[in-house]
Amino acid sequence: MSDAVPSALAPHEAVTPSDEPIRGASLGRYLATKALGAAISLLMVVVLGFFAFRILPGDPVLSMTRGRMVTPEEIARLRREFGLDQPLVVQFGRYLADLTRGDLGTSFFYNAPVSRLIAERAGSTLLLTGTAAVISIVLGLWLGQRAAWKRNSGFDKATTGLALVFWSVPTFWLGLLLLMAFGGPLPTGGMITPGLNATGFAYVVDVARHLVLPVAAMVAVTYAQYLMTMRSSMLEEMTADYLTTARAKGLNEDGVRTKHAVPNALLPTVTIIFMTLGHLIGGAITVETVFSWPGLGYLTYQALSAPDLPLLQGTFVVFSSIVVIMNFLADLVYRVLDPRLKAA
């Protein structure tokens, strides 16, 4: 198993989200096309967020009250409360109007505005996924270029093999294993120790201790994709003529690798990084569930367990919008970084 790019991650498939000819187009036109594409996707998210919860065969009110004793009167009251007795067009109009004001509806489990619930928890998810992303990217890229440079060596086979195994591991199971192995010395749930009114440095240490296990679970499962992309990108660069030139100049192997091959090989990985950042947030759902991390993922879990449809709809729209925007940024960054795409 030497060169395993899980095929869905093969760089040439994923790097340019649309394989239309963009080379040579002016920057303005490129920006406009990509911005339009992102805007359409955002609109589709909003529309899907609405219709998924209303048009599908499942009746929202019935799925909300599943497994509980409810009278027909209560069902009728709930329908009125959610405006479900109105014609679909009216409902959709109201949903759009609310959305432009940043109103995502009212959670019935928490009896609070969905937008406030999401805003309160966004920070902790950002902390968790941000930390995991930085570690995962640095680790993956570093291992990837080393593995490619010593292609088919013991190091290459061991690192790519191990990464592939971790890639096959469901994140939540790894989380459970970490709970089992380190649950004693390290905290297993939440973000701060309850009752510990720490401030300043002590607070930071407490949060950091709570971060260790969830971050470890996320890093282990995600670093493989950066490793594989970097490795195959590096392999492609290694046959390039300019490396021979660099060697002819008298640079030693380490110099050739770090000064010439790595910077060029990094290019395709930048897009992958942006594209996967959004998905990382989605992956936070199970990790936050296992470790009761008070973020958006755990909120989603609570919303689907209740089930609390307004809340779930809110998290769906927010998660998906973040991912769409991240992808748009990926396109921009790629354009800025690759001078070959700039020249008209």
Partner: protein
């Protein structure tokens, strides 16, 4: 009876492909293990009758450690872990295969249409593909399975509908490549219609690629199934590896150190997914010679 030349050539090609596949040790090991797992899953009702896993009929204590009687101990309800694991494999494999079949069918159809037709059809299809590639599939699958009735089919639909876009993109670029070949031009010149071209020329050429991709996709469908079941979105009436892990979390088995209940479902998932990945990569190398030796 004499074989026709065409049949003979086909057989030779098949033998050659098989030899190519079998030369990949990882792929071969993966295939053998998968055959064993599928056989065990099919034999589950014979090996472990469902009545022995009925909570009202079990005689063992909850969370018993492994013993001669219960090789992998018992779960929080006193059921034999090995038995539930075996039954769980049926759901994982069923959902893995069916959801992938669905995803591949959608992906191949959309990809071929987007590659074959130009104009607004292509524009619309490309936008839809892009959208489904971008959207976090787990989040969408969660949404679908929450709104629809709980059940195995809901899980299958939720995974199938959210995971086809990657295939569509690969198939589209392959379709573009094939349609630029002279023999397709010749067929068009002879009056072949859209349907004829797609069915007789494009489909056979994209199939090998799709098949290799399918094998890889089954693995990720199995992970998706276990994730959805773990979140409590699966069918509560059947055993699945994901729902076993959910009850491990809910009953605190992990923090209590009941390793015999936490380890096996996860090991089973990793093993099966890894086998599919190995077989898929070996198939990919057969289908796409450019990947060999890399």
């Amino acid at each position: 009876m004499a074989e026709s030349a065409v049949a003979q050539r086909r057989r030779e090609r098949a033998t050659e492909s098989w030899r190519e596949f079998a030369s990949n040790r990882g792929g071969l090991i993966g295939l053998i293990l998968l055959v064993i797992v599928v056989a065990l899953a099919l034999l589950a009702p014979v090996l472990v009758p469902l009545s022995t896993l009925d909570v009202t009929q079990v005689t063992a204590m909850p969370n018993e450690p492994p013993s001669g009687q219960h090789l992998l101990g018992t779960d929080p309800f006193g059921r034999d872990v090995l038995g539930t694991l075996l039954w769980g494999s049926r759901i994982s494999l069923l959902v893995g295969f069916t959801a992938t079949l669905m995803s591949m069918t959608i992906g191949t159809t959309v990809g071929m249409l987007a590659g074959h037709f130009g104009g607004w059809v292509q524009q619309v299809l490309l936008r839809v593909i892009d959208f489904f590639i971008v959207i976090p599939s787990l989040v969408l699958a969660i949404t679908l399975s929450t709104v629809l009735e709980r059940g195995v089919w809901t899980i299958i639909i939720a995974i199938g509908v959210t995971s086809w876009a990657g295939t569509a993109r690969i198939v589209r670029s392959q379709t573009l490549t094939i349609e630029s070949r002279p023999y397709v031009e010749r067929a068009t010149a002879l009056g072949a219609g859209d349907g004829h071209l797609l069915w007789w020329h494009v489909l056979p050429s994209v199939m090998p690629l799709v098949l290799a991709n399918t094998t890889l996709a089954v693995g990720s469908a199995i992970i998706s199934e276990s994730t959805l079941s773990f979140l409590g979105l699966g069918d509560p009436t059947v055993f699945s590896w994901g729902s076993m892990l959910k009850s491990a979390l809910d009953t605190g088995s992990a923090t209590a150190g009941f390793w015999w209940f936490v380890l096996p479902p996860g090991v089973a998932i990793v093993l099966v997914v890894l086998c599919f990945t190995l077989v898929g990569r070996a198939l990919e190398a057969v289908v796409n010679p450019a990947l060999r030796g890399r």
